[in-house]
């Protein structure tokens, strides 16, 4: 029997099983790319049926080339399906109504490198219909929140990949969207960046936003999701809550605090008569996030170079 222990007990939005109005809906969606002067075709999506209730967080996982980014682009309205129907907040994804209420973090961070982070957020805010004052205030706050406050005047082309990713998160959350579509949000992020993502996703969930996280690394996203969809070769291979999809028969994962070597030995002794054993033991303690934060707050780190 599979057992999963949820350490977190945070209340999320309604899950896919809950009777809620869908924020995102896909019916028989296909996307075919023509290659080589149209002589060859690549079916990136082969009939996707999906429904994501409002307030839910969906993890879209799958190997490279499984169609995750294509599906997210279709939902963001920057591409059109070859066939099938898509609805975002009960509107066609390419409609102004849908795009006004949704936000998208593209996979490759193709933001205008000529502009500073502040100017780029100003532009993107203006294109989203935000007033100048609002865009500047929200932009400045978001840049601080994602840790780019000190680099907000630098041109984006001078940013590292991780910094661009953080900027991408800032622009996605700029207009407080009802639907957030994040394509590989963790790519290039360091441990502090993961913490930033946690923070932003937590806030989005708290205000009832619907979030789609696409990633090929399950561990990067599943902690945030209350539903997973596994894409393989352009098809949905499996869907369900992480608790169901990720459970493995006969294996329990515990995170125990305050147990010394003697206690661990006692645990082993208790397990043995029951036919069980500890298969992996990782040292607890500081994670990279704590290490980075500790180093950043140390006096040496703040000394001028």
């Amino acid at each position: 029997m599979g057992i999963l222990i949820h350490v977190e007990s945070k209340q999320r939005g309604a899950g896919p099983g809950a009777p809620a109005e869908p924020a995102l809906e896909a019916r028989g969606v296909t996307r075919r790319f023509r290659l080589g002067l149209g002589l060859r075709a690549n079916d990136a999506l082969r009939g996707i049926d999906l429904e994501v209730p409002r307030g839910a967080t969906l993890g879209l996982v799958g190997p490279n080339g499984s169609g995750k980014s294509t599906l997210v682009r279709l939902l963001a309205g920057v591409d059109r399906p070859t066939s099938g129907t898509l609805r975002v907040l009960d509107a066609e994804p390419r409609s102004r109504a849908a795009r006004q209420r949704s936000a998208y973090l593209p996979e490759d961070s193709p933001f205008p490198g000529e502009l500073s982070a502040t100017a780029a957020l100003d532009l993107l805010g203006a294109l989203s219909g935000l007033a100048r004052k609002d865009a500047r205030a929200r932009g400045a706050a978001l840049l601080e929140r994602v840790g780019l406050g000190a680099a907000q005047r630098a041109p984006l082309r001078a940013y590292s990949r991780g910094m661009l990713r953080r900027f991408g998160l800032a622009q996605a959350f700029l207009a407080a969207p009802e639907v957030v579509l994040l394509d590989e949000p963790t790519a290039g992020l360091d441990a502090l960046g993961f913490a930033v993502l946690d923070d932003l996703l937590g806030a989005a969930s708290a205000r009832g936003a619907t979030v789609v996280l696409a990633s090929h690394i399950l561990s990067d996203v599943h902690a945030h999701c209350d539903h997973l969809a596994v894409l393989v070769a352009g098809r949905v291979a499996a869907t369900g809550p992480p608790a169901t999809l990720l459970a493995t028969d006969g294996r329990v994962r515990l995170d125990i605090d305050g147990l010394d070597e003697a206690g661990l030995a006692a645990l082993d002794a208790w397990l043995a008569p029951r036919g069980a054993r500890v298969t992996a033991r990782l040292p607890g303690g500081k994670g990279l996030t704590e290490l980075y934060r500790g180093a950043a707050s140390a006096p040496a780190a703040q000394a001028p170079r």
């Binding site: 682009r73 963001a76 193709p110 294109l127 219909g129």
Partner: protein, 411 residues
């Protein structure tokens, strides 16, 4: 088709596109290249083409103006090389990157395209300003106006008022005359009339010509002027406006298209322009519209507008079309297409060129530069060229809009 974009967003997007189309570094390079060409090139190529009784300007001021005009031609060509391929790559950039952040916003492709083309038009303004600023071309012609006039060259103190005459060439053998009647023209005080001539090298290395202007009563409006034509040049006579009779009549005569400009008249009347080949060689009156009236400039800034307006119209129209073509074919192919179109228009027959001159963007730019190269002030650009440029941009927008059904690559 209604642009679907917030005005502030459109302005910021236009500014971004302008920065991309004409980055400050490239503008600085363009300025340096044009300035260098204006300072060190071109003047040596100026050689007297007329060795006769007509004293055309060949002073140092005019030589410098010629160098500046050549540099301006170079600068504008470099500017076109900068802007047109950039515009041609607009759709490609959207499909392979920009569309991801642009297309996810509540912005329609039409509005975004219009804003981007506005940015490219701003970049074209920057290019033209940099080129004309680096050459100092207009300032130089205006300087030549006073400087050369002080040296006794009154022709330099004049600006082109209009062109007229047959649309094709007229060949004159020794003893033959060409008469062109202008039934009702305004003659500003201090005007001069020029006719473009060329020695045809039929049996002689040069040909002498006599140019006369007479009024309706065959009274001379100027003393007959004799010129020796070695290659291609202008014969010019100063006109006496006070001697013109005040006859009224229609301008519609056979082979006489209406003058393209009118100036503040000080006298009106009909006149005949008579060119007589004196031999030994034959000469040609070079169409289209080989007869030019030059008068004192009313506002020197109009000369700036004449060059800048034509150059801007040309660059903006080319960029607009390139953006449209680039949405359907690869950017280099779209750039070549625009270049081919420009060449096709440049190779228009004289009749077609005369018809298109008022609305074809950039039409007459070469002639205006030639005029500036002589240290004179070119005539203003016809407003129709602005309309032509706007129509070209609209065509480009429509082409691009039709192709950009998706912000991503539509493969």
């Amino acid at each position: 088709m209604r642009p679907d974009i917030d005005p502030r967003g459109a302005c910021l997007l236009a500014l971004l596109e302008a920065r991309r189309a004409a980055p400050l570094g490239l503008l600085a390079l363009l300025f340096a290249a044009t300035l260098t060409a204006a300072r060190f090139g071109g003047a040596a190529q100026l050689e007297p083409a007329l060795a006769g009784l007509v004293a055309l300007d060949r002073g140092p001021g005019v030589a410098a103006a010629a160098a500046r005009a050549s540099a301006a031609t170079l600068g504008l060509a470099l500017g076109a090389l900068m802007l047109v391929p950039h515009a041609a790559g607009l759709a490609t950039r959207w499909r392979h990157g920009d569309g991801d952040w642009l297309g996810a916003r509540p912005v329609g492709p039409l509005g975004a395209l219009a804003a981007s083309l506005l940015g490219i038009a701003l970049a074209a303004c920057a290019v033209v300003t940099v080129v004309l600023g680096a050459t100092g071309l207009c300032a130089a012609t205006q300087g030549a106006t006073s400087g050369d006039a002080a040296e006794g060259s009154q022709a330099s103190a004049r600006a082109l008022v209009w062109r007229a005459g047959p649309s094709g060439h007229v060949l004159l053998h020794a003893g033959e005359s060409f008469v062109h009647r202008l039934p009702d023209v305004a003659l500003p005080v201090g005007a001069a009339l020029r006719v473009r001539l060329q020695n045809t090298v039929e049996g002689a290395p040069y040909g002498d010509a006599e140019l006369r202007v007479v009024d309706d009563n065959h009274a001379p409006l100027s003393a007959p002027t004799r010129a020796r034509i070695v290659r291609r040049t202008y014969a010019e006579v100063p006109l006496s406006a006070t001697g013109a009779p005040h006859a009224r009549g229609s301008l519609k005569t056979s082979g006489s298209p209406p003058p393209e400009r009118d100036a503040t008249p000080t006298a009106r009347g009909g006149l005949d322009v008579v060119v007589t080949a004196l031999g030994p060689g034959a000469i040609a009156v070079l169409g289209p519209r080989p007869i030019e009236l030059w008068g004192p400039p009313r506002a020197p800034w109009r000369a700036d507008l004449a060059l800048a307006g034509r150059a801007l119209a040309l660059l903006i129209a080319a960029a607009g079309l390139a953006a449209g073509f680039g949405a359907w074919v690869a950017a280099p192919l779209a750039t070549l297409g625009v270049a081919a179109l420009a060449l096709a228009f440049a190779a228009l027959t004289p009749e077609a060129a005369a018809l298109a001159a008022t609305w074809l963007p950039g039409s007459g730019l070469g002639a205006a530069l030639d005029v500036a190269a002589e240290g004179r002030l070119p005539a203003g650009a016809p407003p129709g060229q602005g309309v032509g440029a706007a129509l070209s941009v609209a065509a480009g927008l429509a082409l691009a809009r039709a192709a950009l059904r998706s912000w991503r690559h539509a493969a």
